[in-house]
């Protein structure tokens, strides 16, 4: 088969539907990555316009441009849009587009999940923007502190848009994080061990793991606050046993890691682009990987430094002050490793390099002011002033926007297959750079003079007039610069000359293909033997196009790839991807219906939407079943691999592990909330304690013990060729009994609206019940698969997945029952 014929055949298999209809049914990472990035930049423009409005408001004293009601919505939405609708989705989009190409495979682990995540993001983001257009956007500041954001002080629907809209968007973050983690660990080119992985993949892996552990506390906080607002469960009301400080802990437990979730992918871009710009390799690869990991962990020990002024004892603050200074060390390692890389090579001032220099200047200043505010006495003065606003913009703009611009200019030829023609980019960079520094250097100064953040007006005698005017002028220069970058990119997309392949002489695999990237990504998969495959084999692209790698022969219209052992990169299984489908968009629309009916308080629709989600999920997994035992699959080079339906740890198992990691963090945060309220909140002990019942506890725990044991038995019997159906039904019943015990706990929770103790028990019981239902549904699904002949001793991949969920349900359910009944007994 010639290269062209292979290209035609593979394109027919992998392409999405033609025209705009393809957008709704595509599951290909090439499309979805671009759709993510495009949507994220739309939100970036919206957020940027809001920033302009803020600077117009503050340009002059006693501004009459917008009243506080409107202004509060503007700055709340600016922060919310930039954080949740621009920064995180930009990382997701970039990772979704690039990772399969960098890793030498054809797509991400769960293509339909990618699409589902995208539509959740698009719908959730639209909800927030629509709220803003109607003037009912959230107005409590982007960190939404209760009681200001509680029903008493924010009675309108504004805060609900934030809580529900952001939770909806978070689904996409969690989905993308599961996707990225499994893809990096399992979906790589044969031979690509962890050691030979491109550095961006390490950063993406670390970031994804951080999303899985960082976002759940925020999701929990949003759920609890929405429950308080909608149903009067007083989690954050001090007079009813709640505590507003709980929100601050949950929010910043997310909020600080969030900063590094934003910075690390950008650092990944720098670590990829900088060596290419300097014609050398990255200095200290192992050190950088270690530094990224250390940074990820340490960033979880900083959350209280956002709460230095809440009256926590000095020793408590000292822990966090210490952690906040320590986190600068791995950051320093990375910065100096990059400068060392520049010394090692010969830096060339291409456009991406200019933005990287912009990053260095801006981010180092942001880091230094960050160290300043880590010092407690300084923070007591600077906290909640414009100094903090300026600092965080230095960190986020320097640490994210400049590197992302560098990345965009670096990978634009890959997106378009064209080379830069107009020289608008250099001027645009100069404007962005100078505009940014004028705006925010001035803002530091205003903060030191005592200007608080979030004020909508100030008086001439405050003495901030000139500084604010300078800052506003700077912000318009910045805006013009960014507009020019957009124009530059558009000109590039539509008018530039065709580029040769690999215009930067880079050594990573994404350049070993024709550009723009074909739908199938690689015509055949490379065998990787070094960290810089293209440096070793400059003609790799041609070799792969000729089908000389793995899976070079298109078969039966199937979307094929292979998965590897996570550490060594040894090929492990053959994987078939699903084809184009509208299921993801329909599923996310129904999910959206669920959130929307909560938001508008049409509670009768909620169960309908939930039932819809269940039906669609059933349809989703049913399509994975196989009727017959698959043979060993030939993947080329005389290698035969087992099908993913016949392995112990299928992709779905890996996905479940990481989804449950996020879920477990959510549960841990919930238990933390319970303990926190119990020990710290005023208004405890509650007037009525839970009445423990030995019978209920024993029944529930018995169900929790039996279910995983029965699943184990089912796996053993299935492997031995015996009928596993009965054991699966026992497991299902065990989970159901556990669910009943949790439901009883919910029903008997003492006066949930009158004290946070009862409301916490209600939520704990609800969590257990929800998972028991999921476990039972999965058991039911598996039983059906067994009956209809979709499983066999060979086709066994579904069993461990169900066992995993059943085990998780049992552990958390037992903890819930014990926590509730023990609290009643102790009193």
């Amino acid at each position: 088969m010639r290269a062209l014929e292979r290209h035609r055949k593979l394109s027919a298999i992998w392409a999405s539907e033609t025209g705009f209809r393809g957008w709704f049914s595509t599951v290909n990472h090439n499309d979805l990555g671009r759709m993510f990035l495009f949507t994220a930049f739309l939100f970036f423009i919206i957020g940027g316009l809001l920033a302009m409005l803020i600077r117009v408001q503050l340009a002059t004293p006693h501004s009459a441009f917008a009243g506080p009601e409107i202004y509060n919505q503007i700055f709340t939405m600016h922060g919310t849009v930039m954080m949740f609708l621009f920064a995180i989705p930009t990382f997701e989009g970039l990772a979704i587009y690039l990772l399969p190409k960098l890793l030498g495979t054809r797509d991400l682990a769960f293509p339909r999940l990618t699409a589902y995540g995208f539509w959740c993001y698009a719908f959730g983001g639209t909800m927030l923007i629509v709220a803003m257009v109607f003037g009912i956007a959230p107005d409590g500041g982007w960190f939404m502190y209760p009681p200001l954001s509680s029903a008493i002080h924010s009675p309108g629907i504004n805060a609900d848009f934030w809580l529900i809209g952001i939770t909806f968007v978070e689904i996409s973050a969690i989905a993308a994080a599961v996707e990225i983690t499994v893809s990096v660990l399992k979906y790589r080119a044969p031979g690509m061990s962890l050691e030979k992985m491109p550095i961006f993949a390490w950063y993406a892996l670390v970031t994804a793991l951080m999303i899985l552990t960082g976002f759940p506390p925020l999701i929990l906080g949003s759920v609890l606050l929405e429950l308080e607002r909608a149903f009067g469960l007083p989690f954050f009301q001090a007079d009813l046993g709640g505590d507003s400080l709980l929100w601050q802990h949950l929010f910043w437990l997310f909020g600080h890691p969030e900063v590094y979730i934003i910075f690390l992918p950008a650092a990944g871009v720098i670590s990829t682009v900088l060596p290419v710009m300097c014609r050398t390799t990255l200095l200290g690869y192992g050190w950088i990987v270690s530094a990224a990991l250390a940074l990820a962990f340490l960033s979880f020990g900083l959350w209280v430094h956002h709460m230095f002024t809440t009256g926590i004892p000095h020793l408590g603050l000292a822990f966090f002050s210490a952690a906040s200074t320590l986190v600068a060390v791995p950051t320093g390692v990375q910065i100096f490793a990059w400068i060392g890389t520049m010394w090692k090579g010969r830096p060339e001032l291409h456009l991406p390099m200019l933005h990287i220099l912009g990053f260095f200047v801006t981010f180092v200043i942001g880091g230094l002011t960050g160290v300043m505010v880590a010092v407690v006495p300084f923070d007591w003065q600077a906290h909640d002033t414009a100094f903090i606003t300026a600092h965080l913009h230095y960190v986020l703009f320097g640490g994210f926007v400049f590197p992302i611009f560098a990345g965009i200019y670096y990978w634009l030829p890959h997106f378009t297959g064209r080379r830069q023609f107009f020289r608008l980019g250099e001027l645009a960079f100069a404007l962005v750079f100078s505009g940014f520094h004028i705006t925010f250097l001035a803002m530091h100064w205003a903060g030191l003079l005592g200007q608080r953040r979030r004020i909508s007006a100030y008086a001439p005698e405050d003495g901030w007039t000139t500084i604010n005017l300078i800052s506003s002028v700077g912000s318009f220069i910045l805006a013009i610069g960014i507009a020019m970058i957009l124009i530059d990119v558009l000109l590039h997309v539509f008018t530039a000359r065709r580029s040769r392949r690999n215009p930067w002489n880079a050594s990573t695999l994404e350049w070993a293909m024709i550009t723009p990237a074909p739908a199938y990504t690689f015509a055949s998969l490379p065998q990787v033997s070094s960290r810089d495959p293209l440096a070793r084999e400059p003609e790799l692209a041609t070799t792969l196009a000729r089908g000389e790698g793995f899976l070079g022969t298109p078969r039966d219209g199937l979307r094929e790839t292979l998965a590897v052992d996570s550490a060594s990169g040894r090929p492990e299984m053959h994987v078939l991807y699903p084809a184009n489908t509208r299921l993801p968009i329909i599923m996310s629309a129904v999910t959206g219906l669920f959130f929307l009916s909560l938001l508008l308080k049409f509670y009768w629709i909620v169960p309908l939407a939930l039932a819809g989600v269940i039906v669609l999920a059933w349809k989703w997994v049913r399509s994975l079943g196989l009727r017959d035992d698959p043979a060993m699959q030939p993947v080329g080079h005389d290698l035969n691999l087992p099908s993913s339906a016949t392995v112990e740890r299928a992709p779905g198992w890996w996905g479940s592990v990481f989804l449950l990691t996020a879920n477990g963090t959510f549960f841990a945060a919930l238990l933390f909330g319970f303990a926190f309220l119990w020990t710290v909140a005023p208004g405890w002990p509650p007037p009525v304690w839970f009445t423990p019942s030995v019978a209920e506890l024993a029944l529930g725990v018995a169900g929790a013990v039996i279910a995983p044991l029965a699943m184990r038995r089912a796996i053993r019997r299935n492997r031995a060729g015996d009928a596993p159906l009965f054991s699966v039904l026992i497991a299902l019943s065990g989970s159901a009994v556990l669910g009943i015990a949790c439901a009883a706990l919910m029903l008997r929770a003492p006066a949930p609206t009158e004290h946070a103790y009862g409301s916490t028990l209600l939520v704990l019981g609800g969590y257990g019940l929800f998972h028991a239902i999921i476990a039972a549904l999965m058991g039911g699904f598996l039983a059906r698969q067994i009956r209809c002949g979709y499983t066999s001793a060979k086709r066994r991949a579904a069993f461990p997945i169900v066992a995993l969920w059943v085990k998780y349900t049992s552990i958390t359910g037992a903890i819930i029952l014990l926590a509730a009944h023990l609290s009643g007994m102790l009193s």
Partner: protein, 185 residues
């Protein structure tokens, strides 16, 4: 702190700039790692940050209220959008928007709120401390000289946040006694 930060920034910029010099590639990778990563990346920040942390903790420790000192007790309660102050030495007195304290004596301000979170901040006298529902936070401050000091609430509290300010009037001994008797000069 600012000078130190400027010096570090300058150093990084010089190193960045020097990387553009024309020169032959220098030395082994192991040697470069020793210089750049072990020396400048690990050692240098660890040293500077360790010193800074110790300094910050010592200063913070000094700001911690000492027990056994006779301090004037006042309470500050915030609500949207006014501060009310009461005085342990004159239980009948309540002032709104103006806090009166004596000069040269430590004052303990018990900060509470009647509605949402606020923050008590008199920049020239002390750092911020939040008023949090259900909790009482105590701020120790001491004004050296009589006079009037501006204070603001420094936690966003909704529509009236812009103008949410108060004053602290610091009295000399006789003025303080007169204030407590309910006869301000």
């Amino acid at each position: 702190m600012l000078a130190g930060a400027a010096a570090i920034f300058g150093l990084v910029m010089i190193l960045l700039g020097l990387s553009f010099r024309n020169r032959r590639s220098s030395g082994e990778e192991a040697g470069q790692i020793r210089v750049w990563i072990l020396g400048l990346g690990l050692g240098f920040p660890a040293l500077v940050l360790g010193a800074l942390l110790a300094y910050g903790l010592v200063i913070g420790e000094r700001l911690v209220p000492r027990q056994g000192v006779e301090a004037v007790q006042v309470s500050a309660q915030a609500r949207r959008w006014e501060w009310r102050f009461t005085y342990a030495d004159a239980p009948a007195l309540e002032t709104t928007g103006v806090l009166h304290i004596p000069a040269g004596r430590p004052v303990d301000i018990a900060i509470t709120t009647a509605d949402v979170i606020h923050s008590f901040w008199v920049p020239r006298l002390a750092g911020k401390l939040d008023a949090i529902p259900g909790h009482t936070n105590t701020l120790r401050l001491e004004a050296d000289a009589p006079g009037t000091y501006q204070g603001v609430s420094a936690e966003f509290s909704g529509a009236g946040y812009d103008g949410f300010a108060f004053e602290v009037v610091v009295h000399d001994n006789s003025g303080w006694a007169a204030f407590l008797r309910g006869q301000p000069e």
